[in-house]
Each structure stands twice: as C-alpha cells, then as structure tokens.
C-alpha cells in the first residue's frame, strides 16, 4: 500500500492505540486518510476470518478488499451528490455590474476587538460599474457577526432611501442575513428585529430594490472599505473614489 513510511515512524515509538492513531492521522496527508482507515478495517476483518473461519487471505486480497470497498463507496457517493448539486445555484466569485438603469450597493461589516467597534462600508456603483457614492460608518460596542452584518445592511438601506435611489441591488456576503430576509421565519431576538426592520423598508420605500448574497471574494470593495471604516470618524461620505478601493473598482469595471 506504500503507507508503511508514514505509519511505522509513529508505531515504533508507540503509546496507547488511540494516541497512535490520532498521531498518524495528524501527520498523514489528508488524501491518504480514507485508505488508511479502510485498510485497518480490512486487516481486522482478516484477523477475524482467521479466528472464526480459519481462513487466511493473502496481503494482496486484504489490500484489494480495502481499495475496492472504498472505490465503490466513493462512486456511489458521487452519483448521489450529482443529483443534489444540480438544484443549488452557483454563486459567482467575481463582481458583476447591475442591469442597465439599476444601481448596485455593496455592503460589508468588519469587527475590531481592540477598538470595540464594528465598521461598515457601503459603496454604490452604476450599471457601467462606475463609482457613484460611498459611505463608511462605525458603531460601538462590538456585536455578534450576524447582527453586525444586519445592522450594516439596515444602515445602507436607510441611506439609500434618503438618497432617493429606488432601483438598487443590495449585495451582502452574509448568507444568514439574506436567508432570514427572504425566509418565512419570524423570531423574537434582536437580530430578528433588525431583519424585520430591513424587510419593512424593502416592502415600503424600497419596493424596487432587492437583496442578494454574493461570495466574499466578489464583495472585495465593501470588505476593504469596511476595514477602512474602523480608522475613520463615525460618518464619512465619499463623492469621489476613495484611494483605498480605487484599484479594485477599476479592476471590476472590466
């Protein structure tokens, strides 16, 4: 099997069996874990066969049994997974421009334990991907991650409403927040109260807007902007491209 090198070193200075196995798993390449586990099982099966039925397999048979069991199981799992993954939509890892006539607002929150504050960055761009407006804010004290993201979105919504920009696509990188906004669940927590507030805004003033989830890689503008927010004064509006995100915006225009 060719695993002896990785196994023998640990076994030779053996402690008890459980520390031996954990140590082997610790040092072994993760890709070898399945076959290592299966082979142990196969060796033990051979030992039981010998004790109960007095039949002995060759090493070749033991190894083959392990590999073929593992192979057929992995194949079956793959078939099963193919059925499932088709239905879930793929999320892009790059930022895309909104459809013509619409604006897009990226929001993110960042957390600083040391300063005990949560920074929020929001950036509006038009259908060409060109910079329109941006704002940073922060508040104290530090909160739970989900609450921070939800407050970020809420502040962005209030801001957009006051700007009278009705056709807005909001993008956040917190799946939880988006799921709760479009989910049916009603809760009683402070997190739920903030989400309900967001939903209320979406149903009244921001009828033409919606919120969607994007991956963190695609939300880089808001992410680095939220980080910058930590070192700014509480409110900052930007009418020109701030230097800290200039290169990202220009990159994403193409």
């Amino acid at each position: 099997m060719g695993l002896w090198n990785e196994v023998s070193y640990v076994v030779s200075n053996a402690g008890n069996i459980s520390s031996t196995i954990f140590e082997i798993l610790q040092h072994m390449q993760p890709s070898h874990h399945p076959i290592f586990n299966t082979l142990m099982w196969s060796i033990w099966k051979n030992r039981n066969n010998k004790v109960c039925n007095d039949s002995t397999d060759t090493c070749q048979t033991i190894c083959n049994r392990a590999t073929s069991l593992l192979q057929s199981w992995t194949n079956a799992q793959e078939v099963k997974q193919q059925g499932c993954t088709r239905s879930t939509p793929r999320h892009e890892t790059t930022w895309t421009t909104p459809s013509p006539g619409r604006y897009k607002c990226n929001v993110d929150a960042s957390f600083s334990e040391a300063l005990d504050i949560v920074g929020i960055g929001m950036c509006i761009r038009d259908s060409e991907g060109a910079f329109v407006l941006a704002r940073t804010e922060w508040f104290s004290p530090i909160t739970d991650v989900n609450i921070g993201e939800a407050i970020g979105l809420l502040k962005a919504m209030v801001w957009v409403r006051d700007l009278h920009l009705w056709n807005m696509d909001f993008e956040v990188d917190s799946k939880t927040v988006v799921d709760y906004i479009y989910g049916k669940q009603i809760g009683v927590s402070d997190f739920s109260a903030i989400i309900t507030h967001c939903v209320h805004l979406l149903c009244t003033d921001l009828m033409n807007s919606h919120v969607s989830f994007i991956r963190r890689q695609a939300n880089e503008v808001a992410h680095s902007f939220a980080k910058a927010a930590l070192s700014e004064a509480s409110f900052c509006d930007y009418y020109h491209i701030p230097t800290c995100i200039e290169s990202i915006i220009i990159n994403e225009m193409h």
Binding site: S8, S18, N37, M40, S189, S192, A193, I194
Partner: protein, 284 residues
C-alpha cells in the same frame, strides 16, 4: 436497555460485552462518544420548552394558573418550589437552570425590565445589589438609564450610580433602535425562539457526565473522513480501546489464548493492526 441493544449481539439470551458505559456513549461525537441522546437531558430540554412558555406567554391559562398558585408576587425565575407542589410544577421548576442558561432580555423600551434583573446585561453579568436600598433605587428600570428620548446609555449617570465594573458591563450591552418591545429571547438560537435542539446541546456541554467522560482528541478527523460509516465506527472502536483483541478480552474475563492468531506474540490493538508481520506487510 439501550446499551444492551447497542453492544448485545450474542445469540439468544447471551449478553454481549458492554465495552463502554451508556454515559460514555451519550457524549457528543466530537468529544469521543457516539452522540446518543441522553434521555434525562433530552427530557430536561423538552421540559425547558414548557417552562420557557411561562415567560413568553404570560397570558395563557396555564401560566396564570401556575402564577396564582406558586409565584403570585414574583416571576418564574424568582419562584420557589413551594409547599406540597404538584408534579407538573416540580418538573417545570427543576429546569429553571436550563431556562436561565439561555435567557436574555431584548431591550426595547426598557420600561418593563428592572435594573436588578440579572438577564439584560450582555455576557451573564448581574449588578450586585446594594445592601441598603431605598424604594427609588429598588424600582429602577433599564429605561431610566437612557439619555432622555434617545436609545443610548447615559454614561455619566451610570457611572455615578454603579461601581466601575458594572458600568463598564452596561456600556458593552448593545442597544438597537429596531427592537421595540422588551421581550425575553433564547440566546442560543439566532431567531431567539426556544429550541429543544440548542437547549439539549447546552445541557450536554455543561453536564457533569460529559465533563468526566469527554476526550479531547481530534475526533472530527475520524467522523468527517470520507469512508463508509461502518469503517468510521470501527476506527472509533479502535481509538476507544474496545476492539476485542485477545488481551482486551482477557481483561474482561473471557477465557482464550493470548497469542496473535498469526504469530506467537501477545495480541493487543497495536499489534493486530500494525506490528504483526502479516499486517505490516499489508502496509508496505
């Protein structure tokens, strides 16, 4: 009985060897158990849900009934078990610690929460009561510490009223203008609604049997491994030292030879799986 089902594979009336106690099996999988439901803890989690309703549904018939009988002038948290209680109340009362563990007040208007209520400050902190308190102090509400007409802490007042540590803890408690009403929330779930699942987990995490029997190894490596479930269970058995090798069988009083079936050495787990020449050959 459950344990006998898990281990007992003997024919007819023979009892299998119980390699691990039931308590050890109820330890969560990531701490080295099998993650079986501990019925006692599960019952507590479900009772907790009923007790939770006493807090969240103050107008329901059962709440009013129990309140009238057992805690007319206080609330569920402050209630005593009382004299000659019904079984129902005794059960509900016995899970108070479970409820307290997940209770957090949402500060809405702040007019309904007493400052001395221990569950509104973030992070399990309660303000120590003063030794001699006048009536005005005793009836202080959370809303009395806001800046008038705003939802913000009035830090100057807070520092005058309380000791430094308490004031600091209060200032770390966030206030959200989106929250309108003072409501109890279950802090172990994001949506604030009591769930038996989260409650069971927290009971188990705090339980003494789990603290005693847990093993801090990297069990995730085993359970998340990409192999058939029976292999995972086998590896788990090996690492918990309940592989029926001949040495192990001997310690449990089974009469059998001690030698490995293939060579003449004594057979323990390490020998059977790795160091026996036959096994070593397979690894090469």
């Amino acid at each position: 009985m459950l344990n006998a089902f898990w281990w007992g594979h003997g024919n007819g009336n023979r009892r299998g060897v119980h390699w691990l106690s039931w308590e050890r099996l109820t330890v969560p999988k990531y701490l080295g158990g099998m993650g079986f439901k501990s019925l006692k803890a599960f019952n507590m989690a479900m009772l907790g849900k009923q007790a939770w309703k006493l807090l969240t549904h103050p107008d329901s018939l059962i709440t009013r009934l129990l309140k009238a009988r057992y805690y007319p002038s206080s609330d569920y948290i402050a209630a005593k078990v009382g004299h000659n209680p019904r079984f129902v109340w005794r059960s509900l009362w016995s899970v108070k610690a479970v409820v307290e563990n997940g209770l957090q007040w949402n500060i809405g208007s702040g007019t309904n929460i007493s400052v001395w209520n221990p569950f509104w400050i973030w992070g399990n902190y309660s303000i120590p009561r003063f030794a001699d308190m006048n009536n005005a102090m005793a009836s202080l509400k959370v809303s009395d510490m806001f800046v008038p007409n705003m939802k913000q802490w009035h830090m100057e007042n807070i520092f005058i009223l309380f000791d430094n540590n308490s004031a600091q803890q209060i200032s770390r408690t966030p206030l959200y203008s989106s929250v309108q009403q003072d409501t109890p929330m279950w802090k172990l779930e994001k949506n604030g609604i009591y769930s038996v699942r989260s409650s069971y987990r927290s009971i188990m995490d705090n339980s003494l049997t789990v603290q005693q029997h847990k093993l801090d190894d990297n069990w995730k490596k085993i359970w998340s491994s990409n192999v058939p479930p029976r292999i995972k269970k086998f590896i788990w058995r090996v690492t918990r030292g309940c592989l029926p090798t001949r040495l192990r069988l001997h310690t449990r009083g089974v009469v059998c030879p001690l030698q490995c079936p293939f060579c003449s050495e004594d057979e323990d787990s390490t020998h059977a799986l790795f160091t026996c020449p036959k096994s070593a050959q397979c690894w090469q």
